[in-house]
């Protein structure tokens, strides 16, 4: 079957159609990772592009996330239990004081779709919780999300604590969210910044030396 149809249905936010096409692909024996990589992911990326060009608004972006998540839920049980190495482990959350979780959830979805193991640790997360979770999961990357001007300093705090503890080199720290920028990332000593989920994947791949 033509997996473009799945992409299109996801992009058009047609949940029922997307789900039935995914089911059809599974029934026809299409390789499940192929359904994800050539069907669901390009569909979600299409939604992201439409959001950037303001053809879609926030609500459509979120619906796109929901449609692709529902498709993923359908495919996941069919994925081979490979035990293969993941692209990397990322601890991701919104820093202390910040309740905005839509942006980083989309980043998490895209990273997962691209083979990363993601630990979402929620909103309003204190600096030490990021660090504890990174240690516990042997993470490669710590992702900090901040949407408020008041919460930007809390990104700095995580980096400062890592430095104080002498473990900054063990983790790559990346930031994102409305109030962040490349300049701010550089200024606070973060290892990277991305404006959106697609770029966040590229950034993480780059940090992990994956093409």
């Amino acid at each position: 079957m033509d997996l473009n149809q799945i992409s299109q249905a996801v992009e058009e936010l047609e949940k029922d159609k997307a789900l039935s096409l995914v089911q059809q692909a599974l029934d026809e024996g299409v390789d499940p990772p192929e359904i994800i990589n050539s069907g669901i992911v390009p569909g979600l990326q299409g939604v992201g592009k439409k959001f950037e060009t303001e053809e879609y608004f926030l609500a459509e972006l979120m619906m796109g996330g929901k449609v692709s998540q529902a498709c993923m839920d359908l495919v996941e049980p069919h994925l081979p239990a490979t035990g293969s190495a993941s692209a990397g482990t990322v601890v991701l959350g919104a820093v202390e004081g910040d309740l905005h979780d839509i942006g980083y959830s989309l980043v998490a979805t895209q990273l997962e779709l691209n083979g990363f193991k993601v630990h979402k640790i929620g909103v309003n997360v204190p600096a030490m919780t990021f660090i504890d979770k990174a240690k516990e999961t042997s993470a490669d990357i710590i992702g900090l999300s901040a949407f408020l001007v008041t919460t930007i300093p809390n990104c700095n705090e995580v980096i400062d604590y890592l430095r104080d503890m002498g473990i900054k080199d063990k983790y790559k720290v990346i930031i994102g969210g409305t109030e962040t920028s490349q300049e701010k990332a550089v200024a606070m000593g973060a290892d990277g910044w991305a404006p959106n989920a697609v770029e966040a994947v590229k950034l993480c791949k780059g940090l992990m030396d994956i093409n």
Partner: protein, 221 residues
């Protein structure tokens, strides 16, 4: 001396009231409050207003918080050497230090102002697409735990409308009267700054805005 106030549309009515009360010779020009949904529009839209009214006014001030422009607004203001109000957002402009206290008390606080109560349907329901996808309500508000309505001009009707909003969001509602006193002090501070630097354009230090150091503001109180 005529002052041009370039103000966020969400503050327009209140700024007009203060300017009238103070009797300042002023021209007030608003920027669409819808820009809050598209924060990258704020800096270019403010710049358009600067270009439009700078010839007509002796000086300009900008009544905006740090509303998600990723620093672009301050870049524009630096370019034209214009001051911005010394507050992070409109909630702080109204509530002053109480703003941080509310958040310390309860981080899940969602703030309302008179403007937001009046325009909730357009700004929030339509703005967030809840009219098209009501099922997203939980996704948006699941981290909010209470509403604090910062009241500028108390009215039973607005209180009632705030209650309707709280019911819609399934959250407890708290009222806090701020009036417009803090905003007025901020505007007076801006006007004083402009007075001081007359003929001394290099007076401006941007650090006080960027770091939110409010010593000068305290002097005004």
């Amino acid at each position: 001396m005529k002052t041009g106030f370039i103000t966020c549309g969400a503050l327009g009515q209140e700024v007009k009231g203060i300017v009238r009360k103070q009797g300042w010779d002023a021209e007030i020009i608003g920027v669409s409050p819808e820009d809050h949904m598209f924060p990258m529009r704020i800096a270019p839209d403010v710049e358009k207003r600067i270009e439009r009214i700078q010839e007509r006014c002796d000086r300009l001030v900008v009544v905006y918080g740090e509303c998600g422009s990723r620093g672009k607004l301050d870049e524009v203001l630096d370019k034209y050497n214009i001051f911005r109000i010394n507050a992070r957002n409109c909630y702080e402009m109204y509530a002053g230090t109480k703003y941080d206290q509310f958040l310390e008390e309860e981080i899940g606080t969602f703030f309302l102002t008179d403007f937001l109560v009046r325009t909730f349907h357009r700004a929030v329901i339509q703005g967030l697409g809840l009219d098209r996808y009501p099922e997203l309500k939980e996704t948006y508000f699941h981290n909010c735990t209470r509403i604090v309505y910062l009241i500028q001009n108390d009215s039973p009707q607005l209180r009632q409308e705030a209650q309707v909003i709280a019911d819609f969001m399934n959250l407890p509602l708290q009222f806090h009267e701020t009036g417009c006193g803090n905003l007025e002090a901020h505007l007076r501070e801006l006007m004083n700054k402009e007075e001081h630097r007359k003929g001394r354009p290099s007076y401006r230090t941007t650090s006080c805005w960027k770091n939110n150091i409010s010593n000068e503001l305290l002097m005004c109180y």
